[in-house]
Symmetry: C2
Subunit: 846 residues, 2 copies
């Protein structure tokens, strides 16, 4: 690499400074210079030259020092491409030596001069000479005495006197910082934050403004908004007779900025400077189009702006800041949308453990559903329901959950399971409900029978003890921990409305219950993309009917039971249609294996035998007969629908009758009926002919006409491969990426937890494919499926409705292949809408 | 359809008679005419004209009758395209009436004339007038009296006198036969035998040769080979004063043909005629290039050949006949190969229930592995082993089998399970071992705990009772039933050698044991395509070691156990290499989930706790922890190989050490190592680097060099889709179509049995995809996989090694896509070789 002109550039309005070559800080400082703000003289060193310095090919220090006065003290700060990537700490007061000490003693006073020199010796020793910080520990007091002791300590450790030449000092500081950037730890840390392998470091060399000395002297930071809320509020700190960011360290003598805070404020102490500072901050906000934190120094009454950085912000503040910048006309709405990381939205929708809370961690697991909740430990769905009835909060603790636990999950405030991964039953249902959930917590021991949890450290927790589940980070905490409430204010809705305007792919919701549907409508879902009807059958009264149906001895007996389920199911759909107000509702026909409705333990079997008035041996035999080796690959979905056609017929009737009822209530809907687990075209033909017949029957009986669409859930690789055939009998195809991933990998999501962590760590898989859509394998099937389906039915509606539906990566994939919509769990809807909007906006940008 | 010249064609040497227009019998008769054989005058009616007759547009009878003498009596016989498709029965003696009766009474005698007339009246009444056969039951005696009673019975039933005009008789007969062909039952029956929807019927009208009358008169059949064995033997029957095939009905007066059979023979009675007949039969064999059964009639010492049909034959006879025709130079070897239906070969390789045995069926199931065996009922592998040690035959009866039962299966003579389908564990292992097997026998009740089987009709069978399993047709028979031995003679070997010459795709075997390997070598397998190493660990001593390994607490402890397994595994491979004599041996690394090695019942858990000297609760806990929801989709295959790398390392070491030992014994082998259940390229890279390291170590330690090939078993849809990446690190890809089918359909083969029957019946699936390769779905993945693999590695070896490997349909698919070999279970090897040869031959034909 050749050294070029811009490698060592004095920052002026026109200097060739750019973020990709000099880093963000250098560029930002140039912007401040262009705004005529009082920025001390600054030189930017490019990535190129810093890389050379690290390699031992430093330029002549004169090339840098020439750009400053001989007496200037300097500070050096990192300037990487993104401020997120970190960098070495700043080194202040370079150029301080015995001579400067004498000079500054005269201008600033000896105490201040000694303080500055001491601080430089200390910083240089630790960061540059890499001495042990504790060699300065014995030094008490301040002033010249302390300085001498520090210089002596340096000499004792290094066998050299403290370097007096500014060029040597600077050269050593630059080398040290350049090398630190190339260290392994620093590289891994920044890579984890998304930095590329060859991310460069720029450095800026700035003339020191002194916050110590005569007159009003000090340093501080200021910003115009509250970092927690994003609301306008001048916040910051100022400390007299201090350098740099000392004001941020708590302690006596720190001033607030404005009058309205407690204590003496900068506004009172120095109203002129305060108002100038405020003006300059507002100018920066307007011209830099961002809320900035200003780092300033006051030197004998004169204001210097040393730096400006983006205000750090909580997710909820990020939303308000972006919306308010757009509403002020400073940025466009699209820009506001682009500034929010969709994945942080989750935090806005749930209660969270307060950042100030004390965390006594009793165990860890997989953070499967975000948000936090505290409650008593209960070990069964029944106990959870009992708690609910007493209005006591509870945490449902299970080895794993099954459909039978769903009612208990509804009653609980959070769920904790020993087994499972991101897409285990508990995790999927938990996210759907917005219920905080930790799964795969095998760091603690579950004695569910003894009703005990044994913490990592051996502490025993029993039923009734309070714990807190932090589903956002996977920590299980002792007791009730402080929470902050979710933030769903107007600003959030405004952002969502803008997102909708920008979106070019629809976002629907996976919703099984009226509660889900309401949440989703609130979050702006454009319809239901997946309504899993089976959950409707796990309620106590229906469960019993389902069991009666399973034990029915004839079609007639089975139909009699289904006739009793029909009105319940019809009511389910009427309620959903009512909430969804004419937006599409896609109902998946019954999917799970029937044995999920049967008990497997002794007590359950006995109860069932009693309920059905059958010998226990008969019940046991039937249950055994129905058990499966691999339920995921067994008798469920359309296979059940074809073998026991009465179930689908009842469901179709319920849907059509609810459709008629909805149209009577001026709430017309075109229901979509989806056939699960299809693998062959003929399955679709058979179900279609039966459902069409039911529709004819309902039309004839009611005398009322209605429309409906029949489609296929593509969950098997075969259905994707044969999508060309299947599309001929389907109005839509919806890819169920959960099951499709399981089958494409030959990997059960419930069993994958055991090794997925190790697999991802060893980079066998780049990511858990249940967590992030595997675009290379599963995506290949989606691509083939959509391509083949469109070849035979160009107007077919295609979508995905698996757990992946809400993730930005899947939405990008779906947009790329022109899917009509994605469907995701209610609490993912806002995330999906924002991500979709961002993708559309990015594409329109040049 | 227009009537054309050939619609009513006198069969001469040059008449335009063809099988597709006139049927096989007409064509065959023309061939006999061309050989100058004494065939009575015959007219062939085309499919076209018979179809018109059925539609009521019969031609003028004169067009037919003109071709005969006025006094000729006629018979009509069906002539469809294939003799397998059946057809209406022959009607004899058309033209018989009162006048003819008088005439024939003069020439043949009254008794014979009356007999002929009676017979015609009876045949006409039943087949044409559709009268109830029992109207003739009351007629006793023969001669003119009986005839009159018959004519009276006809009149009484029809209110008409018996038709006297020959043209009317013929017209009615033709109409009746033409209509019968179009009936629903007849159509369904012939479609079941492969006839197309529009299969036509031709009819032949032949002048009757009388087997009754003065001088040497009679009728019979003759063939030159034994239908059971295919060995040369003049067989047949002759009956004096009889018509048609009366000789075949048992009864007094029937003569054998040759001297060497018991009783008076045609050879003695009429040596000239016998020798002429024999000469003509030999001529037919030579010129018709087939073993024919001749139907002949002797009329006053003159021989007439009425018909010739392919000799019916048992599969073993079919092989001998084809080979012997080729060896006599009558047909080419390729033609001989084409004449054997590969699917019938299975019957040659196993004992079968004798065709004459009395079958007392106690229940039915799926015929999962062909062959028959009788033995005592036992309900556990242990009991089977006990029987074996007492040298008593036994039938292992289980609800289903698991790997723990394999030793018991080796000890048993047949297996019967309540559950499962064609590809359940019992079925697959059974076919591999050549062990007769019936699965899915849910027509009977299994009380395995009470050690009872309850037959369909309620009879109870208990442990120790004898039953016979007919794995060829799925019948479970009471007691010990007569068997016939398998027929693996020189002829069979000759056919197999010819097949090998014709083959252009290799056939390997799936063999896990030395017994399998020996069988397969005997059947001509060209290597082992799949050696499943896990079966080697289910033997009692190794099982214990496996359990110790599972409970090991550290890598070191685990390695110590594996060190003890190493020499056993090395011996396994040395033995296989020895038997396979340098042909390729492809070893699949350990595949099943570890929990298959753990007990699940109380007693087993207690035994294990004792054996490992651990508390029962610890053992129970560990076993519970390891259980999986969907074992098929869980922690097995390469996932286990990566998580517990010591297992693969031990196996690789054993393979390499055995390779060195084999080369020392002048039996050099290039072992192939196959990684199971791969879904991502990185899995292959990780295992490859470890195995390469083991190879380096073994080479360094032994100082001996050796080669090996590392490949991938493609069992997940993802591996097929990503075959392009994966091929970069693999010398070969072998498609495991069992698992691939399961995952492509999302269908467990163990659970599919419950509905597959109904599914195939309703034509949801055209065939059970575990039974016949699903070329549209699974085949699509094979096609994509091979295409993508070859794009990145043009010389990669590709094969299939699932259960489908041996079926003609899969072989056709594999040849079409240029697979290098197929691998199948030992007893499928001959089937596969023959099928492959036939495909190659068909393709070469114009």
């Amino acid at each position: 690499m050749q050294q070029v002109d811009s490698d060592i550039a004095l920052i002026t309005q026109t200097a060739p400074i750019n973020t990709p070559t000099h880093g963000g800080r250098a560029k930002c400082l140039q912007r401040l210079v262009r705004l005529d703000l009082p920025v001390p003289r600054t030189v930017a060193l490019s990535f190129n030259i810093v890389h050379k310095i690290a390699a031992g090919e430093a330029p002549a220090m004169a090339d840098i020092l020439d750009k400053f006065e001989e007496e200037d003290l300097l500070c050096v700060r990192p300037s990487s491409e993104s401020s997120d990537w970190g960098g070495p700490g700043a080194v202040l007061n370079i150029g301080m030596n015995d001579e400067a000490f004498q000079r500054l003693s005269r201008t600033l006073g000896e105490a201040s001069a000694a303080n500055i020199y001491f601080r430089f010796v200390q910083g240089y020793s630790i960061h540059v000479a890499r001495l042990d910080p504790d060699i300065f520990d014995h030094i008490n007091g301040q002033g010249a005495q302390a300085l001498e002791e520090a210089l002596a300590a340096y000499e004792a450790e290094t066998d050299e006197t403290f370097p007096q030449k500014k060029s040597v000092q600077l050269s050593e500081v630059l080398r040290s910082m350049a090398r630190a950037w190339e260290g392994t730890t620093a590289r891994l840390l920044r890579q984890a934050k998304g930095a590329p392998l060859d991310a460069g470091l720029g450095l800026i060399v700035q003339k020191m403004a002194f916050g110590v000395g005569r007159g009003e002297c000090g340093a501080g930071v200021l910003q115009l908004v509250n970092s927690e809320t994003g609301l306008p509020q001048i916040t910051g700190r100022y400390r007299r007779q201090s350098q740099w960011r000392d004001a941020l360290a708590a302690g006596r003598g720190t001033l607030y900025l404005t009058r309205d805070e407690r204590g003496v404020s900068l506004e009172e102490v120095s109203p002129e400077i305060f108002h100038k500072l405020k003006e300059q901050a507002e100018l920066m906000r307007r011209r830099l189009r961002e809320e900035m934190q200003i780092q300033f120094t006051i030197e004998d009454g004169r204001l210097h702006i040393l730096d400006g950085v983006k205000v750090a912000r909580e997710p909820r503040a990020a939303v308000r800041i972006a919306v308010s910048l757009a509403q002020s006309g400073i940025i466009a709405k699209e820009e506001a949308l682009m500034r929010i990381d969709p994945t942080t939205l989750g935090g806005l929708l749930h209660r969270q453990v307060s950042q100030n809370a004390t965390r006594d961690v009793l165990g860890l697991g997989i953070a499967a559903s975000p948000g936090a909740a505290a409650g008593q430990i209960v070990f069964s769905a029944e106990a959870a329901l009992a708690c609910k009835s007493r209005e006591e909060p509870c945490i449902l603790v299970r080895r794993e959950t099954s459909p039978e636990d769903v009612r208990g999950m509804h009653a609980a405030n959070a769920v904790l399971t020993e087994r499972g991964g991101m897409t285990s039953h508990a995790a999927v249902i938990g996210r759907g409900m917005g219920l905080p959930c930790i799964v795969g917590a095998n760091s603690i021991r579950f004695h569910t029978r003894r009703k005990q949890l044994i913490a990592i450290d051996g502490r025993v927790f029993k039923e009734g003890d309070f714990i807190t589940i932090d589903g956002t980070n996977g920590e299980i905490l002792v007791g009730r921990v402080d929470m902050v409430e979710p933030a769903l204010d107007d600003t959030f809705q405004t952002l969502m409305n803008w997102a909708e305007d920008a979106c070019d792919i629809q976002v629907r919701v996976n919703a099984d219950t009226t509660a889900d549907a309401k949440t989703a409508r609130h979050f702006g879902a454009q319809g239901i993309g997946l309504c899993r009807t089976e959950h409707m059958f796990f309620e106590a009264d229906r469960m019993t009917l389902m069991q009666e149906m399973i034990f029915a001895k004839s079609r007639a007996e089975r139909e009699a039971v289904l006739d009793r389920l029909l009105p319940m199911q019809r009511n389910d759909f009427m309620a959903l249609f009512g909430i969804m107000e004419g937006t599409p509702v896609c109902i998946r026909l019954f999917d799970p294996p029937l044995h999920e409705f049967l008990p497997s333990d002794r007590v359950g079997l006995r109860d069932l035998a009693e309920a059905l008035d059958l010998p226990l041996s008969d019940v046991t035999r039937r249950v055994e007969e129905m058990s499966e080796y691999n339920p995921m690959l067994g008798m469920r979905g359309v296979r059940l629908g074809i073998t026991v056609p009465e179930i689908y017929e009842m469901q179709a009737r319920a849907i059509f009758e609810a459709t008629i009822a909805a149209s009577r209530e001026k709430n017309p809907v075109v229901p979509e009926i989806m056939i699960p687990l299809v693998s062959a075209k003929r399955e679709v033909e058979l179900v279609k002919s039966r459902i069409d017949a039911v529709a004819l029957g309902v039309r004839a009986k009611s005398g009322i006409d209605f429309d409906y669409r029949l489609g296929v859930m593509v969950e098997t690789p075969r259905a994707a491969l044969r999508a060309g055939d299947i599309a001929l009998n389907a109005a839509f195809l919806s890819f169920g990426t959960n099951d499709l991933t399981q089958m494409t990998y030959g990997l059960s999501r419930d069993d994958a937890g055991r090794f997925m962590g190790a697999y991802v760590k060893q980079e066998v898989f780049p990511e858990d494919p249940f967590h992030m859509l595997d675009t290379e394998g599963v995506g290949e099937l989606l691509r083939l499926g959509v391509e083949r389906a469109r070849e035979s039915a160009p107007d077919i509606i295609v979508s995905i409705c698996g757990e992946h539906g809400g993730s930005p990566e899947s939405i990008a994939f779906c947009r790329q292949h022109r899917f009509n919509y994605v469907s995701c769990s209610p609490f993912r809807v806002p995330v999906a809408r924002l991500a979709a909007a961002q993708l559309a906006i990015s594409e329109q940008r040049p």
